[in-house]
């Protein structure tokens, strides 16, 4: 049996202090992601997807419940260990504000490698390689201000992929991309997943992007609503996703 990379048990996340009006963004969520799995998270806006990702990625603390990543309970990890863990094991693509605008695209992508003490001789080919895959090689020397939103998103993806982390956490990475670029980004992720055993947790609104996943968790109002697993080909899975989404919409409108 394969080990689980992410193990979430009864996680709750409540925003706001006791005295203020509180908001329960996650309520009793439990699930596992196995090593090498490609899992999608879907759900309507405000459902708690980003919150879940933040809690799993150690960026935010859960109010209660247990979270294990790569066999380690992150709820008792020390600060430095958490930081090292993030820089070595996790790759991030955030929904907003991804790149440091005072660094060039190249420097942004190189950052995780620099942080792990790679020599600059090794850094260059790795950065070039991943940039080539994502079609952003020509913009490497540019500053983020001067590139398009989609290019920014791909640069962020490149930074998340470059050090081949154990798990990539991506929040709407294809949000700003046209279908061709979305496709190439998803292909890269799929490739990493299949040939490099990188586990992926992907939040997305886009059913087509989601159809690259092996399994999808649907979240509604902070709770796990449904889970589907790919059984046939991508086309069929796409259809399956659309069905669940339709279901969700009808619940919401009723």
């Amino acid at each position: 049996m394969t080990k689980s990379v992410v193990n979430v048990e009864n996680v709750q996340k409540i925003f706001g202090k006791k005295s203020e009006n509180q908001y329960k963004a996650l309520d009793n969520v439990s699930f596992t992601i196995k090593e090498g799995e490609f899992v999608g998270i879907m759900g309507p806006s405000g459902a708690g997807k980003t919150t879940l990702l933040n809690v799993v990625s150690t960026l935010d603390k859960a109010t209660s419940g247990k979270i294990e990543i790569a066999g380690q309970d992150i709820t008792d990890m020390k600060q430095n260990a958490l930081a090292d863990f993030r820089s070595e094991q996790l790759g991030f693509i955030f929904q907003d504000f991804n790149l440091l605008e005072n660094l060039t695209v190249y420097e942004n992508i190189a950052l995780p490698l620099s942080l792990q003490g790679f020599s600059s001789k090794k850094i260059k080919p790795l950065v070039t390689q991943v940039a080539e895959k994502l079609g952003i090689k020509s913009i490497l020397p540019k500053y983020p201000v001067t590139i398009s939103g989609g290019q920014k998103q791909r640069a962020a993806a490149a930074r998340a992929l470059v050090h081949e982390p154990a798990i990539i956490l991506a929040d709407e990475p294809t949000g700003a991309l046209d279908s061709k670029n979305a496709h190439s980004l998803m292909k890269t992720m799929e490739h990493l997943n299949q040939y490099h055993d990188v586990s992926i947790m992907l939040v997305t609104h886009d059913p087509l992007s989601a159809s690259y996943c092996e399994r999808i968790l649907f979240i509604q109002d902070g709770t796990l609503y449904k889970e589907i697993t790919k059984s046939g080909d991508q086309q069929q899975f796409h259809q399956q996703i659309l069905n669940v989404l339709a279901e969700l919409t009808s619940i919401q409108s009723s």
Partner: protein, 618 residues
Amino acid sequence: MLVKLLSGSMKKMWKDYLVLLFGLTISIAIFYMFETLAQNKAFLEANALISSIVFVFHVGTFILGLVTIFYIFYATSFVLSLRQKELGMYMTLGAKKGKVTQMMFLETLVIGIISLIIGLIVGVGLSEGIARLLMARLDFSGEGFHALYQSSLWTTVIFYMILFLLTAIVNAIRIARKSVLELLHADQIADNKVIKGWKTFVGTLFAIVLIAVGYFAMINMGELAHAGVIIATATVTPGTYFFFMAMLPFIIKRIKGIRTINEKGLNAFTYAQLDFRVSQLSKVLGTVAMLIALGLGAMTAGLSFYHNTEIQSSMMHAYDVKVLEPTDKELTEMENWEFEERNLYSYRVTDEGVYFSKDELQTNPPVIKEITGNLDELTKETRLEDDLTAPVYTTDETDNAELMPEQWHTALRSELMANFYIFGDRALYILDQEKFEAINADTQTVFVGKVENFIDHANTLEEIDERHHQLAVKYTGEEPTMSGSKYEDYISLKSIANGTIFMGMFLGVAFLMMMASVLMFKLLSSATVDIDRYQMLRKIGVRHAKLKKSIYKELFLVFLFPGLIGLVHVLIGMEMFSFILIEPYTKIWLPISMFLVIYGLYYLLTVKMYQRIVLPKN
């Protein structure tokens, strides 16, 4: 409507506006502080040892004015950076460009006026407080100094009103020139200009030539006089700014260009932080360097005048401690002092004369200070030789005996205190043992000695001087104005130099305070943007300690360059005083190491503060 929007957004960003107000207020307060001295001609002329002090202050006003212009333009551009995104948003919602431009103009002006009012109040308070503190410390009455000085008030108001009007216009024009999109994305745009090689070269050349000419003028201040001061001002000030505008971006770019350095750990980010705002940074650093030069220069010069009084008082006295007829209490007290040399001589006093024993003087000949006539070393110490052959020497020309050699006369008068103040017009004699014993009077003693630092014993020396005054009453019947001791000379020289020392310290404190506020402003004004960046870095897993280190490094470079340049300016600049001070470099390590310690502590404080702002606690 317009005013409503304006005050509304001011409320939202009150912290940033507070930072801006703080920066402007301190600048105004310091400028005013400087002017309270600069415009008070009567005070300056009555209290300074420097003959052309008013001229020096004119030059100072000019430099401070220039530095202030740079700083105010930098500081007010902060208003623009705070507001342009929001103004861009209004424009997308249909606000007219004219309105937005007008808003920017008004806002800059209003902030200027508010800070002018607060700044003047703070300025008066600071002048009063610091002046009082220094006067108490220096025992300086400081008559004629006014913390609230009308003409200085007006100069400050007029100078800053013009500056704020200009900066308001510049801000308005800059807003008017930008497109809506540029405004909306303003916070992301790096002022990361590509620097052309030849520009760097020309700029650097300019900086080096200007500073070299300035240094030459300062070193040759003796011959150049007023022209030298003007040349030095007109070259060193722009030279310093050129240095930071041309050299600094070049150096940072170079470091960033070395991939093995840049791609190590967080270095890429650290240097990018510097590189990103380098043109703003060069204005700040130029200003800081100049303020360090002015502040540390003023303090060092002030302290040099202080040490100068020590040197001056040593010029005419070979012995630090001279005690006539020492009491038991004084002798026990002096037992604990470490003497480099000490002697005891006997004398007898009659109504006609003061008599010393030749034998004693021959066995332990005293040292005296002699005037050399050489400008490099005005006096030198000479030990007298035992060349007294006659049985009697006297200073009484009507006497038939041998006239006392000039050197021995000096020894008795200056070093053994057989002077007019104490003994009136008694003649002095050196007698052989037989004749000395024949004098019908009690034998008295005079103690002389050299110590490492006579000011350490100020209290005792003062008491001894007082007793000498009583002794004089005993011998002459009236109390003298002075007794001829080294300590007394030192005190009276000091009271003459006090005014100058006061000015040096007052300005030193003022300039260094402004320097600190400029650095603080640079820091706080970039904090808002940096919070996001550091948060991002934390998210991708940069250790807390690494982020801290990056801040240490970034700020170290910000502190290092202006500190170095300012220091070199001061070291060379002290040459200017070599024609008024005997040894301008004596004890220069004292103010400099004091400065380095304070500057170092300020650096640490700044780092800690910045870490608190941009990094989360825990």
